[in-house]
Symmetry: C2
Subunit: 309 residues, 2 copies
């Protein structure tokens, strides 16, 4: 196998940039848009050209974009788990799984300030809404969840984004949801895990958390292994078998600590201690097909409870 040629590399990266920047409804529309005003095209290649900052930032929005890019660089400080259909919001970053109509992963950066109670932010004014930036073929709708028996479970938790009303509202895009068992999971054990993550901001200056779904195999009576999960609604939104969180805490002395959890998407007894769900991050990486915090050398890392990961 040889490398992809340079012209194609640039074409690919330009296409990716188009996707991130334009956030338009369809790839087809996006490429048509990009060809007309952002990136030159060559025959036979999706897009091609020298991409300059100036050409990508409309003058009217450059201040906003600068704020967002700066926030994204904070959130993603220790590396992207993957690069598939990344969406960047004011206070979290998401990779969307178009086949399963739920995220691959979401990434958040929490501080004591960003998770503190803030009466100026009213969660009851936030509505669950379809994400128009996702192509209609792959976009989940509120109707998919209705009467399914599952909650629209936040991957980036609403309670982690309390600095501004907009931050909270952006966690209500359906692209940030996955079907979760409500009573006994989303409103209980999973909520406990979310509160645990927020509480870590008391011990660590910066807390980074990556959250997402898993589709874990099980052995059946014939001795074979199967992956099986429900899909709901006319858009066949996947109901994951499990959810994970991989967390990095950065202490005041800049030392990094890591912990990881996997919870089954089912009723969990309220008296189950959190550490029952702790796993080595590598277990999640293998199952999810992702690499977490790959800018961190794991050899220099300790787990949050003091052990080497």
């Amino acid at each position: 196998m040889s490398g992809l040629g340079v012209r194609n590399l640039l074409a690919l990266s330009a296409t990716a940039i188009g996707a991130f920047y334009l956030g338009s409804h369809t790839k087809r529309e996006r490429l048509q848009q990009s060809s007309s005003h952002v990136i030159r095209r060559l025959p036979g290649l999706p897009t091609f050209g020298t991409v300059s900052a100036a050409s990508l930032v409309p003058a009217a929005n450059s201040a906003n974009l600068t704020a967002t890019q700066s926030r994204v660089s904070q959130i993603m400080k220790y590396g992207f788990p993957g690069l598939d259909h990344v969406r960047s919001h004011s206070d979290y970053v998401l990779s969307y799984d178009r086949r399963n109509r739920i995220p691959h992963w979401v990434f958040e950066h929490l501080t004591a300030e960003s998770v503190a109670r803030n009466d100026a932010v009213d969660r009851s004014k936030c509505d669950f809404k379809p994400d128009e930036s996702i192509h209609p073929f792959f976009r989940s709708q509120n109707t998919d969840y209705r009467k399914s028996g599952f909650d629209r479970g936040h991957m980036a938790a609403a309670g982690n984004h309390r600095l501004h009303q907009k931050h909270c509202e952006e966690t209500f895009y359906l692209s940030n949801m996955a079907p979760q068992v409500g009573q006994g999971f989303n409103r209980d054990a999973w909520n406990t895990l979310e509160m645990h993550v927020r509480k870590l901001t008391k011990s660590y200056t910066n807390v980074y958390v990556c959250t997402g779904p898993l589709y874990l195999p099980h052995k059946e009576d014939n001795g074979k292994m199967y992956v099986k999960y429900e899909v709901i609604g006319s858009n066949t939104v996947a109901v994951p078998t499990h959810f994970y969180k991989v967390i990095v805490g950065e202490a005041t002395d800049h030392k990094l600590h890591m912990e990881a959890y996997v919870m089954p998407n089912k009723v969990i007894s309220n008296d189950t201690p959190l550490n029952v769900f702790q796993v080595p991050p590598e277990t999640i990486e293998r199952a999810a097909g992702l690499l977490f915090f790959d800018q961190i050398n794991r050899k220099h890392l300790t787990s949050i409870n003091g052990n080497i990961v």
Copy 2:
């Protein structure tokens, strides 16, 4: 939602470029390599910098890379279905699904010349081999398939790459395989479909074909829909429920024609005509989470048997 900032766009695209170019074992290794000799890094971002052709092409390999980039631009002429973990070979392009350890899609460009019998190419000298460019966490092995009851089924068919021994050999990477029912499918109905695609080169100057797996839901007795598939071996390689091919033929008058097929991964009676498996391309797009040939305006397209797609 706002766009991802420009600095991050460039960082992302540089990371993607690193992935395509270096094709190294791990993302961690890759980023370490890229920081040392290809792409500058900024604190808090995976990679960043102005990427020039000269900086990416080692002098000794530039002739080879030029040939590859030119071939990739031919193969991918009408658009990438997705951009997740793309691998570029001498005569086909592949996107790898790290969670399922098989391709998302493979893309081929066939001509009468490339599929013609060529005694200089000996398929019996080709060995199935692990793809070292895939991170070991996500790499399938020959042992995963052993005693599984499934064939190592080519996605890019060996018989489509007969110009050079190297082209044929590169189709034997395990990253190009998916578990297929052997007798009655891979060696029968699926082989018939592959031969049909090759035969199209008699009617069309250029034939483009995208091939991949599907994981289609079914309804169970409780009225709910489920996706269920077997996984084999210690690397839990997914056994897809179905496979697809989406084909575009370019006629001598440059008119484009399209057809698409979905076949279940099970024994299919030899007397089943091929057109039983024909579906609108959109059906596959929705199920696969991909958009095919998105550089082509479907309104100006006819199906290969003469109907509007």
